[in-house]
Symmetry: C2
C-alpha cells in the first residue's frame, strides 16, 4: 500500500508538503495541492488510521462481546449496534465469548491492548469485580455492574409480570416458569421475581425451574424438556419460558405428546427476535424486547462516555416491553 513517502516522491514534493495537504494546514499553492492530490489518486493512497489512532490516542474502534454471534437475538442486537456505530464513524470489533469466563477475560485484555475506545458487554460470565477494573468506557447489557457503569436493558420485571398476568387472565391455575441460568445476578432474573410475586398475590400454584440457556439449540432444549419438564406437562396448565426458542421447543414437544396447546397447556415465550417474527406455525405468544432500541442505545451510551458527556451522571436505560398475543395462549 502506498505510503506518504511514495506520494511525496510521485508528486516531486517533500513529505511535509504532503502532510500539510492532508491536514489542510499551512500555506500550499494551488498547483502543488493539485499535484499532491493527483499523486494520491494515482497511487490509491489511504491515510494510515493506525498512526492517527496512536497520535490522537483514540482508535475509533469499539468492542462488543456477546455469548453467541449466531444467536438470532445477538445477531440482531449487533446489527443495530453496527449501524449506529457506522453512522458515528466508529468501527466494530466483535467477540464471541461462548459464555466461557476465560475467553471473555482474554477478549477484554485483547480489546484493552488494542486501545478500543470502549466496550459493549453483552456476555456475563465473570464476577462483577472483573468488569469494574476494565478502566475504559463500558456499557453493560442486562446486568448491573456498578453504580458508575451504565447499563441498557428492557424492563425484565414488567415483562415477567405481563407474562404471568396474561397466563392467569387466560384461566391458568398452576404455573411453571422455565428460567435462564440463575447463577449470575442478571437482570433477566427479575422476570422470575415478578412471576413468583404475581403468582403469590394471585393465589396461584407455581414452580421455577432453571433450564432456558441462550446457547441451547432446539435439540438441547428438547432433551432438557424430555428429562426435566415432561412430567410437569400433565400437571401445569401455564408455562412461561424465558426465551422463544425454549417456548417453541416446548410447544413442539407438547404437540408430539398429544397435549393440546393452548387448550390443555398455555405457553408464553420471551424475546420476539427474528426467528419468532418469521415463525408462523404456531404464532408464539411472547414478550417483545425492543432489540433495535436497545442496540442503538448501547452504542449511544458508549459514545456519550467516550465523548465524556456523562461524567456527572450515569444514564441507565430501561426499555418498555410489550405482550405479543399469538396462538399458544
Amino acid at each position: 500500500m502506498a505510503s506518504i513517502k511514495d506520494v511525496a516522491k510521485h508528486a516531486g514534493v517533500s513529505v511535509t508538503t504532503v502532510s500539510r495537504v492532508l491536514n489542510n494546514r499551512g500555506y500550499i499553492g494551488k498547483e502543488t495541492r493539485q499535484k499532491v492530490e493527483e499523486a494520491m489518486k494515482t497511487l490509491d493512497y489511504q491515510p494510515n488510521q493506525i498512526a492517527r489512532a496512536l497520535l490522537k490516542n483514540q482508535s475509533s474502534v469499539i468492542g462488543v462481546i456477546v455469548p453467541d454471534l449466531s444467536h438470532p437475538f445477538f445477531a440482531e442486537l449487533i446489527n443495530w449496534i453496527e449501524s449506529t456505530a457506522s453512522r458515528h464513524h466508529l468501527k466494530l470489533l466483535v467477540c464471541n465469548s461462548l459464555q466461557e469466563a476465560e475467553k471473555e477475560a482474554n477478549y477484554i485484555t485483547m480489546l484493552k491492548q488494542n486501545r478500543v475506545d470502549g466496550i459493549i458487554m453483552c456476555s456475563h460470565s465473570q464476577e462483577v469485580e472483573a468488569y469494574r477494573n476494565v478502566g475504559m468506557p463500558l456499557v453493560s447489557f442486562d446486568r448491573i455492574l456498578s453504580p458508575t457503569i451504565p447499563y441498557v436493558a428492557s424492563d425484565n420485571f414488567r415483562g415477567g409480570e405481563m407474562a404471568t398476568q396474561h397466563l392467569i387472565d387466560q384461566g391458568c391455575k398452576k404455573l411453571l416458569y422455565i428460567s435462564g441460568p440463575l447463577d449470575n445476578d442478571l437482570l433477566a432474573n427479575r422476570r422470575g421475581d415478578a412471576f413468583q410475586l404475581k403468582c403469590m398475590k394471585s393465589n396461584v400454584e407455581w414452580k421455577i425451574l432453571e433450564g432456558a440457556h441462550i446457547k441451547a439449540t432446539f435439540e438441547d432444549n428438547w432433551s432438557y424438556i424430555d428429562k426435566e419438564i415432561g412430567a410437569y406437562l400433565e400437571d401445569y396448565d401455564g408455562i412461561f419460558c424465558s426465551n422463544d426458542i425454549m417456548a417453541y421447543t416446548l410447544y413442539m414437544y407438547a404437540t408430539e405428546k398429544g397435549i393440546q396447546v393452548p387448550e390443555q397447556v398455555k405457553i408464553i415465550g420471551y424475546d420476539y427476535h427474528s426467528f419468532t417474527r418469521m415463525l408462523k406455525q404456531p404464532l408464539l405468544t411472547t414478550i417483545k424486547q425492543p432489540i433495535e432500541s436497545m442496540g442503538k442505545m448501547l452504542c449511544h451510551s458508549l459514545i456519550e462516555q467516550i465523548e465524556g458527556k456523562s461524567v456527572k451522571q450515569v444514564n441507565n436505560n430501561v426499555f418498555d416491553v410489550e405482550l405479543v398475543k399469538g396462538e399458544t395462549t
Copy 2:
C-alpha cells in the same frame, strides 16, 4: 490507561528498561525484572497493540463485509469466521453493507485506512473491477472476482441440479425456480443454470423468476409471492426457491390458499441455516450449504494469503452440498 512511562516511573527504572523486559531483549537483572513486572501488574499495564501494529505494519485485524449481520446465514458464517480468527489471534471488524454499493465502497476504504491485514468479502454490490484494486489480501464468498483472488463457495451448480432432480424424481412435471438477483454474476446463479439444463434434458416445462432476495423478510416475500407467484401456484407442481426463507413463506402462502404441500405443489429451499434447522413445522426439504466449513475456510484462505503462503497458486474452495429431505416434497 497506564503507559510504559507510568510503569517506568512506578518501578523506578528507565523506559528503555521496561521496553527490554517487555520484549525480552538485552540483559536485565532478576530484581529489576521483578520490579517492572510488579509495576505492570499494579498499574494494569497493557502493551499497546496499535503501536505494535504500526511498527510491524501488521494490525492482526481482518475485516468482514456482509450484506446483513442479522440474517441467519451471515450470522452463522460470521460466527465461524470469528471463532477461527480468534484461534489465530486475529480480531474481526464487521461491516454491514445492507447490499448498498456506496456503503460497501466506504467500508473498503475504511478497512484500508485501518490497515487491516485482509478482507473477507461476502457482499457483492460493486462491479468486479472495484475489488481487483483493493491491493491487500482478499477472499471472496460466492463470487469469482479475478483469477488471482481466491473464492470460497459451495457447489451451486450441483445444488441446483440436486434440487431439480429431486423434484423430477418426486413426479413434478412443471417446474418453477425463484432465483436470487441475477444482475451481478454471483456463483449462486449457477443454481439456475443447472435447473434450466436439468429441466431441458428431462423434457420438463420450466420457468425462472427473480425474486429471492437475501434481505427480504417473511412479509416482503409474502407480498412478492402474492403479486408475482400466486398465479403460478395452480399451474406448477414443483417450486425450487433459492433460499429457505422464501421456501418457508411460499409454503405458508400455499397452505393459506388451500393448496396442499406436497400433494399439489412440492417446495424445496436452499441454505439450511439456523432458522431452517430450528423449524419443525414443516420440516423443509432443502439443499444444505456447509456454513461451518465455508466460514472456517474463508478465514483460513485469508490467513494463507496474509502469511504469503499461496503466492504460487490461488486456492479456490468449493464445498459439497447435501439434500435434506423434509415434508415439503
